[in-house]
């Protein structure tokens, strides 16, 4: 997902307080920033929301790659609006994390020096225009699977950020599918491009949900805290079940020989992605890890004079105002 492999923090606190806290969550109450919360809940959420925010921001890069090369002015305007939304998603999420006692700049620094991660999916390149279709359709589609249930998460600011984000996401997925439809109904070269995009993005999209966590104690704690709402396998299955008919409608083939509808389970059987590739990408060895981090670092460094200049100007103005009063 946008937050992958989040380890929950152990918590050593007053058992009575912990029980009262868990009872609030079980009763469906929202936890707000000033309420008492276990240290583990706070730290796990900072990590999870921060990683989610970083993914929104780094996720602008693969699509930003095509803004200047969109095939029509309309497609360009749409893609630009989509990428701008992602910046907004990053901002909503950083703000939610900030209510837990960390600043946005601190989180940014942790992304830039590699202490924090972003989703593995954004380390894959976008090679053709059809990739803009595949990303919107599959990557945003997979993100939606996770984000919709998170609207009910126990932490108030996170839940409210998710509600805003989900309102915008269906535009993202639909514009992606619209690109795919156009390509799939186009010339044979265009259709080939669409198939190639699906081939390259299928397994990385399945990896977005993370490896199976049925037996993970971290997931168990996060689910009890309602900061994780489903297991990774549940979400992946839901994604496959939803996406396969959409691929069929396009006349494209999902690149999995084992993909088959299973009457007994009422779900598709499908092949797992190559998890060694996933761990390798997380370690920093994906096709674009270096390029992505370098782009974020230079944006931060090149923007420093603007941040400093505007702050100095604001402080000068404020001082002048005080002097005049």
């Amino acid at each position: 997902m946008y937050a992958q492999m989040i380890k929950s923090e152990a918590t050593q606190e007053d058992p009575e307080k912990l029980a009262a806290f868990q009872a609030r969550i079980d009763a469906g109450e929202k936890i707000e920033p000033k309420d008492w919360m276990p240290q583990g809940y706070r730290k796990t959420l900072i990590r999870q929301i921060g990683q989610h925010a970083h993914s929104e921001i780094v996720g602008q890069l693969p699509e930003g790659n095509w803004i200047t090369r969109a095939p029509t002015l309309e497609r360009k305007a749409i893609l630009l609006a989509k990428v701008q939304d992602e910046a907004g998603h990053g901002l909503y999420l950083y703000c939610a994390a900030e209510t837990l006692g960390v600043t946005r700049d601190e989180l940014t620094e942790m992304l830039l020096d590699g202490r924090m991660k972003y989703s593995s999916i954004f380390n894959y390149p976008t090679l053709t225009w059809a990739d803009m279709g595949a990303v919107g359709w599959l990557v945003d589609g997979a993100a939606i699977m996770n984000q919709v249930p998170l609207q009910r998460t126990s932490f108030g600011p996170y839940s409210r950020a998710m509600i805003r984000i989900c309102k915008e996401e269906s535009f993202h997925q639909r514009q992606g599918y619209d690109v795919m439809m156009k390509m799939a109904q186009g010339t044979s070269a265009q259709k080939k491009m669409a198939q190639d995009a699906l081939n390259r993005f299928w397994y990385p999209s399945l990896m977005m949900f993370g490896p199976s966590d049925k037996e993970s104690v971290h997931s168990e704690q996060s689910m009890a805290w309602k900061i994780k709402m489903n297991t990774n396998d549940e979400l992946r299955q839901k994604f496959v079940d939803q996406t396969v008919p959409q691929a069929e409608y396009l006349g494209l083939t999902v690149p999995d020989e084992n993909l088959k509808w299973n009457e007994d389970t009422g779900h598709y059987d499908f092949s797992q992605p190559d998890w060694s590739e996933f761990f390798d990408v997380l370690k920093g060895n994906g096709p674009c890890n270096q390029e992505r981090l370098a782009a974020r670092n230079s944006a931060w460094d090149d923007g420093k004079w603007v941040r400093d200049g505007l702050l100095a100007h604001a402080e000068k103005k404020a001082a002048r105002k005080v002097a005049a009063e």
């Binding site: 920033p33 309420d35 703000c95 209510t99 006692g101 600043t103 601190e106 505007l310 702050l311």
Partner: protein, 112 residues
């Protein structure tokens, strides 16, 4: 940085960290339609109030969500604390006569 009555808490590790020189945090309130009151929609960072309003326009009203924007620096917000819940709100629980349903008006009297 924040007082105990600020909107956001000071956490134990925050007190230990050196103070950072960053753009301040602003809270954003939007009037969705004419005739409605402004509602809190979220927060953002900006160096000053002009930029805060511009950023709020870009982030929170991209789809016609508002006709008016208020911004206020987060550190200027005073907030009640969760532990005050009892003393602040309990007194009103016993004053049921403040609700119109407390009074039985005979049907013959008509709508009231």
């Amino acid at each position: 940085m924040s007082s105990p009555n600020a909107a956001y808490p000071d956490t134990p590790d925050q007190a230990m960290k050196p103070k950072r020189h960053e753009w301040p945090l602003w809270e954003v309130f939007i009037r969705g339609q004419h005739g409605m009151s402004h509602r809190h929609v979220g927060s953002l960072h900006a160096p000053d109030q002009e930029m805060a309003i511009k950023n709020a326009r870009d982030v929170y009203t991209r789809r016609n969500e508002g006709v008016s924007i208020w911004v206020v620096e987060a550190r200027h917000i005073a907030a009640s604390s969760p532990s005050d819940k009892g003393p602040l709100y309990e007194p009103s629980e016993s004053k049921v006569y403040r609700h119109p349903t407390f009074f039985d008006i005979p049907e013959e009297v008509g709508a009231m």
